[in-house]
């Protein structure tokens, strides 16, 4: 096989920090290669050097299709057929499908627009990967998965020979991920080299031929995918080993806290009955659109059900607003922690105390500064939030620490029921472990935890009991010890 890209001894420093140290990286023509590593391991820097956005330190060598590029820049890199699809997809939501795919037609000096040829480019490119969208539809009308296909089409229309995808599966459902994996295999057959950057190790192993692992800016190694497994990969990425076991079910012997009977909401979910016990972690999985998020929002009072009853400690309750749910000790940590869970520009203190302002109020309803500070100090130390000063803005923290701030915000309300929607999306393995530890501790303290997740290993290995929803119905309710990854996968996708 011919070599498409050959990089050797690539280093990059930002200020005093070594982002990359002497990294070698090669890609064969038509290869599917995964690049893995924790946040700050140098993955993004390596991609930026390949795409010419950042220049490597002198001494490194870059050759594309056998030709040396001592100074690679974005123009050369694009010219060589290197296309990056960033996590945000970089599409123009206000423009049509055709215009987004054929955007390269708009580059260059002033010239007139040939709409017919743009539509034709879009149609041929979509036909190449077997998708069909209305070329005149606005991209804002498409789903996330649809948008991703448009981004791939745009790269192909620009004659991509190497397609780099940064976290392409982060916001896709399992179903859509399968379609994407099939598409990547298709691209490979067409001789296009694909680099996949992902946090989800099971996907990495499913799709890759070779895997390159980076840690702290240095290359740990490049491995054939069939010689490694998830455990080894996370060990290589972090230098630590993680062993997950199914939790013993007898831990969850507390009384029933929340019970739901025959709950339904028009067009979203139907006839759901379940029980949450104190001290129990219940995992809930299912495809996007299976009704799992809607059910969670109903339990949090944000989407009141049409039918059925919700019982708290055996007493029927009506939850019409989330304020009522919070009053009754039900807390919800949303999926999109960055936009819904946190006020990024405000301090850790402000975020952590947001849910308990009334409780901290002193005379005349004013917030007592001392009470506020000791409250924050308690949670920062209890959850091990790494922040030099709680007055710092939340956006300066790492993903894992941001997640802890969200947890602190809700734990401060002393919840009896905690609903976590995809608590580890976009979080590193070692930070994930910290979050699982927190969940376990909450359960030990007697909280009933409902954890929603796309990732089957996550619900299986960190719950006492697993629920699966499909097309609005609860189809599976089983002890974690009595099921397996395969059985759950079947229940989700059947």
């Amino acid at each position: 096989m011919a070599t498409f890209l050959e990089m050797s001894d690539i280093s990059k420093r930002f200020g005093g920090v070594h982002a990359l140290r002497g990294v070698d990286f090669t890609l064969e023509v038509g290869e599917v290669h995964c690049l893995v590593g924790e946040n700050g391991s140098g993955k993004s820097t390596l991609i930026k050097i390949i795409s010419g956005v950042e220049a490597a330190e002198p001494g490194g060598r870059i050759a594309i299709s056998g030709k040396e590029y001592p100074k690679l820049n974005p123009v050369y890199s694009t010219h060589c057929g290197i296309q990056v699809i960033y996590q945000d997809l970089s599409l123009f939501p206000n423009l049509t499908v055709a215009e987004n795919i054929a955007m390269a037609h708009h580059l260059g000096g002033l010239h007139s627009v040939n709409w017919a040829s743009m539509r034709a480019t879009a149609k041929t490119t979509m036909a190449r990967i077997g998708v069909e969208f209305d070329p005149d539809a606005k991209v804002s009308e498409l789903s996330i998965a649809g948008r991703q296909l448009i981004a791939i089409c745009r790269a192909l229309a620009a004659d991509a020979k190497l397609l780099i995808m940064d976290e392409p599966t982060a916001s896709l459902t399992r179903h859509e991920v399968n379609a994407l994996i099939a598409l990547v295999r298709e691209l490979k057959r067409a001789g296009i080299c694909v680099v996949f950057v992902s946090h989800r190790l099971d996907e990495v192993l499913e799709i890759a031929e070779r895997v390159t692992v980076l840690r702290d800016g240095a290359k740990v190694g490049t491995f054939a995918a069939d010689t490694i497994d998830g455990g080894k990969l996370s060990h290589l990425m972090t230098g630590k080993s993680f062993e997950y076991q199914v939790q013993a079910p007898e831990l969850a012997a507390g009384p029933v806290v929340l019970e739901v009977k025959g709950l339904g909401r028009q067009g979203e979910y139907e006839d759901v009955s379940l029980q949450l016990r104190a001290g129990e972690v219940v995992g809930l999985t299912g495809l996007l659109g299976s009704g799992r998020t809607e059910l969670a929002l109903s339990l949090f009072g944000m989407k009141p059900p049409d039918r059925g009853t919700i019982l708290l400690d055996g007493q029927p309750i009506a939850l019409r607003t989330n304020a009522e749910a919070i009053d009754r000790g039900i807390a919800y940590v949303s999926e999109d922690r960055l936009t819904l869970g946190l006020i990024l520009n405000q301090s850790v203190t402000a975020n952590v105390t947001l849910t308990v302002l009334e409780r901290l109020a002193g005379a005349f309803g004013l917030i007592a500064a001392g009470a506020r500070q000791s409250h924050v100090a308690r949670w920062v130390s209890e959850l091990g939030i790494k922040v030099s000063n709680p007055a710092n803005a939340v956006k300066t923290l790492s993903g894992g620490n941001q997640q802890r701030v969200v947890l602190a915000k809700w734990m401060a309300t002393s919840p009896r029921v905690l609903i976590l929607d995809s608590p580890t999306v976009g979080v590193d393995i070692s930070a994930k472990d910290g979050i699982y530890e927190i969940i376990r501790r909450l359960a030990r303290d007697g909280v009933a935890v409902l954890m929603i997740s796309d990732e089957i290993p996550e619900v299986l290995y960190h719950s006492h009991r697993v629920l699966v929803m499909r097309e609005g119905r609860l189809t599976t309710d089983v002890a974690a010890a009595a099921t397996s990854e395969d059985a759950l996968r079947q229940a989700v996708n059947a």
């Binding site: 974005p74 123009v75 694009t78 960033y86 945000d88 970089s90 599409l91 123009f92 939501p93 206000n94 423009l95 215009e99 955007m103 390269a104 037609h105 708009h106 580059l107 260059g108 002033l110 010239h111 007139s112 627009v113 209305d134 005149d136 009308e141 067009g267 979203e268």
Partner: protein
């Protein structure tokens, strides 16, 4: 292809422009019943002439809004361009070409100044244009003492009157300077936005500035172009306004910004950038003109005019937001 015609008509029927057109037709029909004066050729030409100033400015602002910025300094820019240009014309003599060249030059330069502050220093455009509005206007009032100029060159005061034709008794109509400038401004803006790659780059930049930068668009150049275009439109608008008013009044233009913003926003342009059409702006301008004219023709006190304009903007924006929310919930359930 009839199928794609049907699809694009279907898309038009769901668009903001379609609803705007329906509202305007309904309003015109009822005003036509209520007052025989309304649906006359006389009134049509009068409206086109008197709203040409707002219309030309609205097209400049449309381009700025699509690019993701905002500019409200254009009335001050227009006042400066008008005063300087016609003072020079009075002092040294001039013709149509030279006055427009000077006004466009001044407008473009002041617009470019806005762009430099906004782009180089990364100051939000609303703040820059509030500041420059006051600076331009303040300097003009200081140096002129706010005095009007009543004597304009004869050829300028006479204006133009092309394709004259008779309609009814004793009334003749034709294409005057205002209507000509308005029509040209619509044509040029439509061509820029829909038929050139630069226009499409402006839409793309307004929709996703980061992505536009990654694709290698010249962001600074595009912004210079956009704010200069606004300034050029202000220069043109200032002259057609002076010709209509037969005087130069440094104090009367500033304060008319909100009419212009109203026309563009009614036309469906978004303050978030990336969204807005020339057709929409035309309809927004028409709705504004019909509303304000209708209020006068119905004999309602013109003091009510801002109230109704505000009310219609609020209803229109709420209706758009509501229908978008409906569509989102419907697609989420699918």
């Amino acid at each position: 292809m009839p199928e794609s015609r049907i699809a694009s008509f279907g898309r038009f029927r769901r668009s903001h422009e379609f609803w705007l057109l329906m509202v305007i037709l309904g309003l015109c029909a009822s005003l036509g019943f209520a007052n025989a004066q309304f649906l006359t050729v006389q009134n049509l030409f009068d409206l086109l002439t008197s709203y040409a100033f707002v219309g030309v400015l609205a097209l400049g602002l449309l381009v700025v809004l699509i690019a993701g910025g905002i500019d409200i300094s254009f009335t001050a820019t227009a006042s400066v361009a008008q005063y300087v240009t016609l003072s020079l014309a009075n002092a040294y003599g001039a013709n149509w070409i030279s006055v427009f060249a000077i006004a466009i030059g001044i407008g473009g330069a002041l617009g470019g100044l806005n762009a430099i502050f906004i782009q180089k220093l990364r100051i939000p455009s609303i703040i820059v244009s509030v500041a420059t509005l006051n600076i331009f206007y303040g300097l003009l009032i200081f140096f002129t003492g706010g005095k009007y100029i009543y004597s304009l060159p004869d050829w300028f005061a006479t204006g133009i009157f092309w394709f004259e034709f008779e309609w009814g008794k004793d009334s003749s109509y034709g294409i005057n300077l205002q209507i000509l400038a308005l029509a040209l401004a619509f044509l040029v803006t439509w061509l820029l936005l829909n038929r050139t790659n630069i226009g499409r780059q402006i839409y793309a930049m307004g929709g996703n500035a980061d992505a536009a930068q990654r694709l290698g668009f010249h962001i600074f150049g595009l912004n210079i172009l956009v704010y200069c275009y606004m300034g050029v439109m202000a220069g043109i608008a200032s002259l057609i306004q002076a010709q209509l008013a037969q005087s130069v009044a440094p104090t009367v233009l500033v304060g008319k910004e909100l009419d212009v913003v109203a026309a563009v926003v009614l036309g469906g342009a978004s303050l978030m950038g990336g969204v807005g059409t020339v057709l929409g702006t035309f309809l927004g301008l028409t709705l504004l003109a019909v509303l304000q004219n209708g209020i006068i023709l119905l004999g309602v006190s013109s003091y009510w005019s801002p109230f109704f304009v505000g009310l219609v903007i609020l209803i229109s924006v709420s209706a758009t937001a509501w229908s978008q929310r409906e569509r989102r919930t419907r697609s989420a359930r699918r």
